[in-house]
Symmetry: C2
Subunit: 427 residues, 2 copies
């Protein structure tokens, strides 16, 4: 399956022309390959720019209310009949005036609420693209290394498609994410170690004969997987009326989501679907204090990431050795953005602040991003007079433990008017 | 607020012409009134049929991707600027061929997956309509009596709208539903009693001076609230290409959802938007064995509901004294449907069966409905050769405890190829 010569390839209507090494620029055919044969650098999808340039706003607007409206800008899934998908995407862009006021932001502030995807995280986007490519490439089993949300999504996609799955997670995940993966009935392997251990093992398993027919969405089909994140850039631009916001704040685990939103904006400008905003756009990255290797590298004015052993409640961001960290730093530097990180108490406060002001209940990753937004405003790194979009990538129901001790009933009463009166509810 | 003379009324562009008593037919103006002044019977919204008949498929299809595309068929919310809403609706209608095969159903089977609403249950629909009406009627605080999902939805809607909320729940609710309400920062009152106790107390509070400005979505603005459920009928018909399915299976708590889906189908036929299917449509109701007063009354060939003290894991269905039970029985009898109930083990199995075959993770209410579907096929009450739509009204993440002991990792290994080999993952 790793040979590009004999393996099946993705749809002939794909605008992708091949895979390209992000380090040395070497090009390879579209296949299940994730590292450069020349320099071992990471690969990403390269497109036929002429094909992309033929896409119009009207084409997109006439498409379905999900990520597949952008199929002509994605490497796989042009044919609806061969998609492996829960049809994620077109999640709400929520106006957040009360949150803006609380933070001293005078320009429009928006929450891109990706908790509203089918399995309640942005991972449904990348999984739909990866597994659709995987099916086109002939794989017979679906897999991933996951901090939780990805496990949920791969198991659910496999169940919908009727394809076997085997999912790898750290043994200490939040119960919500374990049950929500196991319920779909696939194999679920708990590994006694960190996410980085899980990822390393999957990198070894993918080379074995027993896993030859297995697509690991974030290992051997990673270039396709990563492209799914572009839809979080496309949608924001379309939902703003085909405009790119001046500032975006994005949570970072591997750092890939941040680079792909930036790539999406660049593509939209290049192919003429939107005009670049005056002064360009600035990309900001959010990590937790328990796992902040990318932000620390930026603060230390280097692009060499020093891996860390993750701690803290933002488990979905706990990738201590982030694959796309250096690329995230490049994007942030190039666009004039910044990165920062929040500790567990700040993350909890971020979850509550977002919920109270917008009605959006985020998981710890979303709390992290809101807490970092607050820091970026306070430090002057983010301009409160410029339009800003904050990405919430997951659902609070999956990380209830994080705030379980902090919120609860404000009153407990007997079932009578007398009980209500004694609790002060009747003045 | 209960006087129709001096109170503000809903939008003048509303197609609603007043409230009508379901028992005696007496009519009243559109106001915050839920019981007939003549006979104390329950009120529902009556429409100007001529106004409804002007609505076209094209009007609806040009509307937003949420319940408000049907605003011209609802009692409030015609003006987008005055809506109190998270924009719920247009949830997926999921084809379920693998589930059909497992159950011996030969015709198309669909899951209407309403876990995909903003707070992950169908309650967002009724709350959006009720609170929009409440705002138009001049209320200053939002409230409800809830088994959990309604509490989540009211608290989130209030946070988004910046309006105070006070929500009443039984003290023994699932932790997920308590935290997911409390996080929005409103008042949350835990009552030491059953849902029926909570509901009774809210009926008393609404008459007090201190609650004069408070809209209880399912008490004093209940007629508006109930109409929101019609959108679950409209959407299924539109998503099937403007057709009504031959059979629908719907979970019952108060019984109101079932009656309103049936009402929606009737309206669509009356105003000429769809043709009635040959042989009409049959409506089936699902309860749990721990709270089955409506189904038992039907089985006993009466329409007098004997209240029960609810037990069992399907807490969102645990209304022991269901307000619309007799009307649900009427709809089921009239359409040639049936009702049945499932015990806790069957409900758990229903959750897992649905997840494994469709990728949809339902809360206990959805497991109940799937388990009852299975019984209805086995007993011959539901025709496996006719197209069927099953309603999943809530999200599995909210009732994790129900299956926490049943599903989990299939393997636990050390982070090495040797660990994988010892667990049998490498043949």
């Amino acid at each position: 399956m790793t040979s590009a010569v004999s393996a099946p390839t993705v749809s002939t209507t794909s605008p992708a022309r091949g895979l390209i090494c992000r380090a040395c620029g070497a090009e390879f055919p579209l296949a299940a390959q994730h590292a450069c044969f020349e320099c071992f650098g990471p690969l990403e999808v390269a497109y036929d720019q002429a094909a992309l340039a033929r896409v119009t706003r009207a084409d997109i607007e006439a498409g379905p209310q999900n990520i597949w409206r952008y199929a002509a800008l994605l490497p796989a899934g042009q044919n609806p009949d061969t998609r492996v998908t829960l049809d994620p995407g077109m999640t709400p862009l929520v106006s957040a005036p009360a949150l803006a006021e609380r933070l001293g932001i005078s320009a429009p502030l928006w929450i891109k609420d990706d908790s509203q995807n089918p399995t309640h995280s942005f991972k449904d986007r990348v999984v739909s693209v990866a597994l659709t490519a995987a099916k086109e490439l002939g794989f017979k089993r679906f897999s991933c290394a996951s901090t939780g949300n990805l496990a949920n999504s791969v198991a659910a996609h496999a169940a919908r498609a009727g394809v076997p799955s085997i999912v790898f997670i750290p043994a200490d995940l939040e119960p919500g994410k374990v049950i929500t993966t196991a319920v779909y009935g696939g194999e679920l392997v708990a590994i006694e170690g960190s996410y980085d251990d899980v990822n390393r093992l999957c990198g070894e398993l993918v080379e074995t004969d027993e896993f030859e027919d297995t697509a690991f969405v974030n290992v051997n089909v990673r270039p396709f997987y990563a492209e799914g994140s572009k839809t979080l850039g496309y949608e924001v631009a379309e939902q703003l009326g085909w405009r790119i916001p001046a500032q975006v704040v994005i949570p970072m685990a591997s750092g890939e989501l941040l680079t792909k939103v930036d790539k999406a904006f660049s593509e939209l400008v290049e192919i003429g679907l939107v005009e670049a905003p005056e002064g360009g756009w600035a990309v900001f990255g959010a990590q937790s204090a328990g796992c902040n290797p990318i932000a620390v590298a930026l603060h230390n004015e280097t692009d060499v990431i020093t891996p860390v052993k993750p701690t803290g409640i933002a488990k979905s961001l706990n990738i201590g050795d982030p694959a796309a960290g250096a690329y995230a730093i490049e994007a942030v530097r190039r666009t004039g953005g910044w990165m920062d990180y929040a500790n567990d108490d700040e993350i909890r406060a971020g979850i509550r602040l977002l919920a109270e002001t917008t009605g959006v209940f985020a998981e710890t990753a979303g709390g992290t991003t809101v807490a970092v937004l607050q820091k970026l405003v306070a430090s002057g790194k983010l301009d409160p007079a410029k339009e800003t979009v904050v990405y919430n990538t997951g659902e609070g129901l999956k990380t209830l433990d994080a705030i379980a001790g902090q919120v609860g009933p404000t009153h407990r009463i007997k079932p009578s008017l007398r009980g209500a009166r004694e609790a002060g509810l009747l003045g």
